[in-house]
Amino acid sequence: MKRYSAFAVAREALRNHKGWGRAWAAPEPKRHYDVIIVGAGGHGLATAYYLGRNFGITNVAVLEKGWLGGGNTGRNTTIIRSNYLQDPSAAIYEKARSLYETLSQDLNYNVMYSPRGVMMLAQTQAEVRGYRRTAHANALQGVQTEWISPARVKELVPIINIDGPRYPVLGALWQARGGTARHDAVAWGYARACSAMGMHIIQQCEVTGIRRENGRVAGVDTTRGAIACDKLGLVVAGHSGVLAEMAGFRLPIESVALQALVSEPIKPCMDVVVMANTVHGYMSQSDKGEMVIGGGADGFNNYTQRGSFHHVEETVRALVETFPMISRLKMLRQWGGIVDMTGDRSPILSKTPLEGCFINCGWGTGGFKSIPGSGWGMAELMATGESALTRAFGLERFREGRFIDESVAAGVAH
């Protein structure tokens, strides 16, 4: 693999960039792999990467039915934060956030992690109390957050309206080292690093069946033939229910469309990420200059990756109220992704009833930020059968009632 650097780009510039090779190889599937990961989204690729990096397991294939990174990983609004309330969540999201800090260097691919700060506005007394509580919890979890005043909010985000009239800003929970990253680059960077370790990333390869032998996983059927494996990881977000059915078990998951939209690009006007959960919307400005906007999920189960207009309207209305100047910007594009929602809105990283088969899903509306941490924990779980990071996220929690409910502190979880 050719290393990326400013020098390399300069050198290549002088010969019309002829020397750049493929970022990742496009091999034919082998008959057997030690580990197969289904789904080349961020979580699938990160799982594969840390299997190789941390455990030396490199006879791995990542199978993707479409193009890698084309699921929610390539559709999300890229907010990264770890100011979660419950211990298990704070642990895995903070692990992820701290890995993001050095991810560009680890992968030798600029994922543009930008710790520009994430602000969650409190606009009701209930939110004030919820975020104060979160700040207390975070202090003990090693997550750096801070409760800030409306004046400080205004100072950090001059374009914000803090005076209401309907929902004046009462303060905010501020995570200075939260931020954003470039979503495609995260997927591409991991893919390139996996490929460099000799792993096979196989696109246009849909898994259509899961083979079992003596109660153990034996391999998968795909649109490119049958492939055997010793261990199988299902990391397919919105399609987890479909894959679980192939493996013979059921999941407490509903799939719904979550939408986002961007404005036309303008010059920099907002350097932080702002989330306003009472009015239901959040916004940041991309490096391109677009205002990146999101809100709540559509209220009905759905597999089409497009959404209704009604949610867009609700979200935009909320943000025009919060940032009055965006009224004169234009919506450039709206889109949707299918998110996998569990009953407690927390993910599942777990062994399954089928031996040798593991599942990583349920990240719902907020799993971009967790990609490195999830991959780290999932790799550990698959390699060793146990991981402190994933322990609380097992499937059995739904039977036991051991939920990890984050809605406690904030309504929207991106």
Binding site: S114, P268, T304, R328
Partner: protein, 1003 residues
């Protein structure tokens, strides 16, 4: 110097001169001009700078597909960035500024990026700026951010207003060209209601410019007559300046009407968003011409051939005096002919086809235009304006055969149907080999609930490019739409269109075909984002083979024009680079809106004070006038406290608590949810909803009840009163009224649909006042009326009666521990009742109290509060509320869940009281420390504060909290670190701080 010509100008009124400014410079145009045509007429060729390389750019198109000529329009609170000059109608006083340059349009420092372009290929930022780590956030990113972005940031609150229209129509026709008009006519003839939307200010689309005849008359005549005919039909609505923005499931569509953008002093809303339900949608959205990819195809003066024709015919503007035309099809000859007949020199027509074109070529030749077949543009030279063109062989590598000096280039790479709206909702495309474009696949339309296709493409949008074919196709589309909407189409024939026969086009994706690397690095695909042929080829070389990968890696098609000009050329380039075919590569997804629409229009009227309705109790105005310090609770506002002159919030709350405990206080409790549950199965239903037994409650009695979710968690509480055998009134929390109502309906409608129960939300029908304190009874007796003595009405009973002249329902319940009556009167009597209580209470020292005093008093009494002690993870058993869970019932919502292992775990945190050792107030939400750290290195904890207040009654801080084994650890001291750096010590105590035996409320 004006470039206005004497001929043509069908859209301008030369009698009306219009003044405007561009970058502060005063200029003039005519009524009917677009900003772009007026600028061109004033010889202002450069209109903006590109996004990445800051290249000087002029208008390349004449309509919605324009990627270059973006302006900031207006001033102050009416400023708006990124407006296309090509779709901006000129008006007196318009102020326009070009964008994305510093210090100015003519000289822009950012243009250095262009010099460095070879160091900034596609995706360069993924490979660079990796080290040192801190530099991305602090150095590289800020620089990139500053360089990126296009327009200036609008200032402050928008001075304009916006509105929404909702409408139903049988047939929606999008596009008011000849196809749209004919489709509307044939659909309307069936009697179906028809709505026609046209994005521009003019009907007729391209046909009047392109020529040809309809039933023997000119296209202009056809358009005029058809519009007149449609206007006269009562079942037809025509709307121009109204763009079909998006098509969604179930025949839902958006129209975006620009009401005053062209006349800002007209008053009224600026934009109107049409929210349309149509049974059938006809997309007659036309086609867009493709640029040709040759080196220097972005130099100002290089223009789509059709756009150049538009400027001539519509606005009498000649973008150049010495023009070269490059084409791969016959249509561009029309431009050459129009130029020539307008007195402009056409130096060459470079036709990439080795055998040239058909009849139009003959016509051009007859006019004396030189036509070179098999020729191509090797490179356009020029900086801010075309200077010359190097001519080469199309089949070669770009070796120049001659250099021709000229000042404009018209190019045509063929036409692509506008398939966006067809595709928004899942319509699929097929590749038309002969015409080299994607068009709607009739077999795979977007389908509605009935399984039928609900979008019908018509005319050029359906791949028909000749006038007769367009009219026939549109006529049929209108009939199909009418039929689909349930109407019988009238028998009629399509009008007959006549145009010159055209020779077939030859696809040209790169000019010349074997252009070398240097030329490819100057051949633009996406103008605005500066994506060139070399970038797409680099993406392909690096394995970004999926069209989505290429798009994202290079940013092809991601600019404000969303690739209207670049998409097909881009994917053809990709297909070529990876040795694949265009249909295999496929397109990226088309997403709404068709062109960008204002956020203002999306938000509509709902902003400021009417962003969401404020719900008001009948006493709202009284509170307002009497010092209420408001707290939003859901959509309600409730007085947090009532401030007296100079009083702090805290002092006011303390005063209200003291007064209520010592004398009497009034609380406006009208916002509490009041759900009437009625029917023979009402008791059985409530037994399932509440953990308590409600069916055994006697009429006249009240019971405090708990409601849990299916997962066992406590979701609401409140007092249930049995009104009669079949009727219950359930009180919910203020925030819970709508939620619990919906919860009840969900169970009734999906699970117990055969139970005879109705639920009605009566919250706003009653005003409710809590009269609380030792003098509460005396106060009510002073008003006179029903007997409220302890003998007549015991604790937890209710009675109907009259108090003074008011119809009252009195509940003897208490959330404060004091003697307390909650009195409900009809909402219309609420204010008078409240005022009567204040009057009569004066001698007892009555004072109103707000939500915070309510909270303090309930906490002193050890009562839980939904949202404080509960957070969606707490079960009643955690809160010591086991007594409210019926052991006799077979089932209730949450019962099974509460038997799950984690719910019965003895180590669940339980409710206790907490008292700081030094009397201070514990910080809200603080956690109690335990020994050590967990496996993830997080500090172990053993409890948390759920409510904490200063108690004026006890003169110290009191709190409640959930603590590991709490009830068994009375007297133990726990440590709570605050976020203020201090650690608070608090003792575990009983949670009832006040009147443990309930003597006060039972008098």
């Amino acid at each position: 110097m004006s470039t206005r010509i004497a001929a043509h100008g069908r859209l301008i009124d030369r009698a009306k001169s219009v003044g405007f400014t561009f970058n502060g410079k005063p200029m003039r145009g005519y009524a009917g001009d677009t900003l772009a045509s007026a600028l061109l007429a004033g010889d202002q060729m450069v209109m903006g700078r590109s996004y990445k390389y800051h290249r000087p750019r002029g208008a390349v198109a004449s309509g919605a597909e324009e990627p270059n000529a973006l302006m900031g329009l207006g001033e102050g609170a009416k400023f708006e960035p990124n407006q296309r000059a090509t779709t901006t109608e000129l008006f007196e006083g318009l102020t326009a500024r070009s964008q994305n340059h510093w210090p100015g349009l003519e000289f822009d420092v950012g243009a250095v990026n262009g010099r460095l372009s070879r160091f900034l290929p596609a995706g360069f930022y993924y490979k660079m700026f990796i080290h040192p780590r801190a530099f991305w956030k602090h150095v590289y990113e800020p620089v990139i951010r500053q360089a990126a972005g296009l327009g200036r940031v609008p200032g402050g609150r928008d001075a304009d207003t916006y509105e929404h229209f909702h409408c139903f129509t049988d047939v929606l026709v999008i596009g008011g060209g000849v196809a749209g008009l004919q489709a509307a006519r044939s659909a309307a003839a069936s009697g179906a209601s028809v709505l026609v939307l046209e994005q521009s200010a003019h009907w007729g689309g391209r046909a009047p410019v392109d020529g040809g005849t309809v039933d023997g008359a000119g296209a202009d005549d056809f358009v005029r007559e058809t519009v007149a005919e449609l206007e006269a039909m009562p079942n037809v609505t025509l709307r121009n300046r109204c763009m079909g923005a998006g098509v969604y499931d179930h025949g839902y569509a958006l129209g975006y009407e620009r009401l005053t953008d062209h006349a800002p002093r007209a008053g009224g809303p600026r934009h109107r968003l049409w929210r349309i339900r149509a049974r059938r949608i006809v997309t007659a959205t036309g086609a867009i011409e493709r640029p040709l990819a040759f080196a220097g195809n972005d130099v100002p003066g290089v223009m789509l051939a059709s756009a150049m024709r538009d400027y001539l015919v519509n606005w009498a503007v000649a973008p150049g005096r010495r023009v070269i035309v490059a084409t791969n099809n016959d249509d561009a000859y029309r431009t050459a002919i129009t130029l020539k007949t307008s007195g402009i020199d056409v130096l060459r027509i470079l036709d990439a086809r080795s055998s040239g074109g058909g009849a139009l070529m003959q016509e051009a030749r007859a006019l004396g235009i030189r036509i070179d077949c098999g020729r191509a543009i090797g490179r356009v030279s020029g900086g801010k304006r075309v200077r010359s063109v190097a001519v080469c062989a199309q089949e070669g590598t770009g070796g120049a055969l001659e250099e021709v000096e000229c000042d404009a280039v018209a190019m045509s790479g063929g036409w692509s149907p506008v398939v966006h709206l067809w595709s928004h909702c899942g319509g699929k495309l097929i590749w038309d080999e002969a015409r080299a474009h994607f068009r709607p696949d009739p077999e795979r339309p977007p389908r509605g609930a009935d399984g039928e296709g609900f979008v019908i493409p018509a005319g050029a949008a359906n791949g028909e490019l000749a006038l007769n074919g367009i009219l026939g196709d549109a006529d049929e589309a209108g009939k199909t739409a009418a039929r689909g909407a349930g109407f019988k189409p009238a028998r009629s024939k399509a009008p007959r269109g006549e145009t010159v026969e055209e020779a077939p086009l030859q696809p040209v994706w790169l000019m010349p075909r074997h252009a070398d690397a240097h030329l490819r690095a100057k051949a633009w695909l996406d103008y605005q984002n500066d994506v060139k042929v070399s970038d797409v080829r680099l993406a392909a070389q690096e394995g970004y083979h999926s069209v989505e990968h290429t798009k994202r890696y290079t940013t092809l098609g991601m600019a404000t024009d969303q690739g209207k000009l670049s998409n097909i050329n881009g994917l053809a380039t990709l297909a070529d680079a990876i040795g694949s075919e265009i249909p295999q590569v496929g397109t990226t997804t088309f997403r709404p809106p068709y062109t960008p629409i204002s956020m203002g229009a999306i938000a509509g009227e709902a902003r400021g004070a009417i962003f969401q309705p404020v719900r008001r109790t009948p006493m709202h105005g009284w509170h307002e006038a009497n010092g209420a310090d408001w707290e939003p609770v859901g959509q309600w506002r409730r007085p947090y406290t009532y401030l007296r002159d100079g009083e702090s919030q805290h002092d006011a709350v303390m005063r209200e608590v003291r007064n209520t405990r010592q004398a009497v206080g009034l609380l406006d409790a009208s916002t509490l949810g009041k759900l009437l549950v009625k029917g023979p199965d009402a008791g059985r239903f409530l037994d399932m909803l509440y953990t308590n037994m409600m069916s055994t409650l006697k009429p006249g009695k009240c019971r405090y009840g708990l409601m849990c979710s299916e997962n066992g968690f406590l979701i609401d509480d409140g007092v249930v009163a049995r009104i009669d055998e079949h009727t219950f009134l359930c009180h919910t929390t203020t925030g819970g009224a709508e939620r619990i109502h919906a919860h009840m309906e969900e169970w009734l409608q999906t699970e117990w649909w055969d139970w005879q129960v109705h639920v009605a939300n009566l919250t706003e029908q009653f005003a409710q006042v809590a009269v609380v304190g030792p003098d509460a009874r005396k106060l009510l007796e002073r008003l006179g009326g029903m007997d409220l003595s302890a003998g007549a009405m015991a604790f937890m009973e209710w009675r109907d009666g009259r108090i003074a002249e008011f119809d009252a329902r009195v509940y003897r319940i208490s959330f404060s521990g004091e003697l307390s009556f909650e009195v409900a009167v009809p909402a219309s009597q609420g204010l008078a009742f409240w005022e009567a209580l204040m009057d009569a209470g004066r001698e007892f020292g009555v004072m109103p109290y707000g939500t915070e005093a309510l909270h303090v008093m309930r906490a002193e009494k050890g009562f839980i509060m939904i949202g404080d002690e509960t957070d969606g993870t707490v079960i009643p058993q955690d809160l010591g509320l086991g007594w409210a869970i019926s052991k006799k019932k077979e089932d209730y919502l949450g019962k099974r869940a509460q038997a799950r292992p984690h719910m019965t775990d003895p180590t669940r945190w339980k409710l206790v009281g907490l008292e700081t050792v030094d009397g201070a107030v514990l910080p809200d939400g603080a956690y109690a420390l335990a020994e050590g750290v967990n496996a993830n290195g997080q500090r172990n904890v053993q409890g948390r504060v759920t409510s904490t207040y200063m108690s004026p009654t006890l003169g110290r801080g009191i709190a409640m909290g959930l603590v590991l084994n709490g009830p068994d650890r009375m007297g133990e001291v726990l440590e709570f670190p605050g976020t203020d750096g201090k650690t608070y010590q608090a003792r575990i105590v009983d949670q009832v701080f006040y009147d443990k035996d309930g003597e006060k409320q039972n008098v």
